[in-house]
Amino acid sequence: MARKVQLQPAYCMHARAYRESSQIVDMLTPGHGLIAAVHRGSRKQRGANRILFTPLLISWSGNGELFTLTHVESQGARHFDLPGMSVVGMYLNELILRLTPKSSPSQGIFDLYRSVVMALGGNEIPCENLLRLFEIKLLEKTGHGLLLDREADHETEIQPHAVYRYDVESGPVRIGQSGPAWNILQGTTLIALQSPLEMKHESRGAAKKFMRGMIDQHLGSRPLRSREILQFMRMTPPD
């Protein structure tokens, strides 16, 4: 039996061309998690490609893996319009699509996404800090939460000047010497990651390297493609 779902809040994570003039869209919703649906005729509709990073209300029907969108309206303006920000937004979307299980409802993930894209548009919190917050919270909400304030024994407090090796399964283990691996880090970095929004400039490099390694652990062998764009933009040598 075909199911009808009416006017759910949603964000579009990705849209790809489908047949002549339609698209297949991946939508993040609080009540139904990630869903994939056909958006018929959308490539010929004015503005239909502008649904990324915009709060939406959508209705859909159908059953099985691929639904049909029956209604899409924006609930407000796009959260940001700078193309540079869209690259960052694509990274968030890719993380959601890669780390979130399909069709599993999560108000928490939806709220997290909404608050981070809104803050990206607000331009008050450094982008790097928002990304770290998003990564930490998303891992937490998908069952891969990090242990940042205690050692793996869940008792010993993290010391700022000690060196730790972060064991993916159990947490930080104090070690004698620093090293180049992604999971060897200073206590200060772990402490900075406890409140990513307040992170100071000097902690950002180490925090980013650690979170990048951590996310890779949960992605498997397929790398994140949106990182390549960010890298290409930086790699282009100045003058």
Binding site: E20, R46, A48, N49, R50, N93, S226
Partner: protein, 208 residues
């Protein structure tokens, strides 16, 4: 979704005919019914046309590659536009699709060169800077006397992001970038815009 639509009506008289009908459905907008109509038309009324279609299709697929400079479809190493000595070599217009070049050639008086990305940056579809040939374009900008890069990518999020990355790339080499501005509907793809609108948008491009 495609063949099953034929359902019980599937033709048992010739498996080759069925194969033909199925193959025709690789064309955009062609479903089982119109594929069947096309197959009957070719076999019943126009075998000569069918023969030359199949010959030229075969050759096209084998021989047509990409121009080494601009990536447009051509069976030569370098395409006629790139080889045309009368074209202005200080301007490169970047488009997403070969169809966009045809459209711009038809509807504008543009006399510069092109670069065809064959898509737009879309990490979730596995399309990154390498796939779009950005390193090739970057090399051209460094080696040729390019003064203006026209960013004629679609006005979709991916098209905008691509334009942004291109403008950063050009900016680092001190090259001016312009972007099609008026006329192209927000969220629109060039392919679906009429010729007049394209001409207007092209004339009204501005510094990006």
């Amino acid at each position: 979704m495609s063949v099953n639509d034929l359902g019980d009506g599937e033709l048992a008289t010739s498996s080759l005919l069925n194969q033909l009908i199925e193959s025709l459905q690789c064309l955009p907008g062609v479903g089982p019914k119109s594929a069947q109509r096309m197959a009957f038309h070719l076999l019943q009324r126009n075998r000569g046309g069918a023969k030359s279609l199949s010959d030229v299709l075969n050759r096209a697929v084998d021989e047509i590659g990409h121009c080494k400079n601009c990536r447009i479809f051509t069976e030569q190493e370098s395409c006629p536009i790139c080889q045309d000595a009368s074209r202005i070599r200080t301007t490169i217009c970047v488009v997403e699709n070969p169809a966009d070049v045809f459209m711009l050639e038809k509807s504008t008086d543009y006399k510069g060169l092109y670069f065809v990305l064959m898509g737009s940056l879309s990490p979730l579809d596995g399309i990154g800077p390498q796939e779009l040939g950005l390193p090739i374009l970057e090399k051209r900008l460094a080696e040729e006397a390019v003064e203006e890069l026209i960013l004629a990518t679609n006005s979709t999020v991916e098209g905008e992001v691509t334009a942004h990355v291109l403008s950063e790339m050009a900016g680092r080499q001190g090259i001016k970038t312009t972007r099609l501005a008026q006329g192209v509907p927000v969220g629109g793809e060039l392919e679906f815009v009429d010729q007049n609108t394209i001409a207007q948008a092209f004339a009204g491009r501005k510094t990006y």
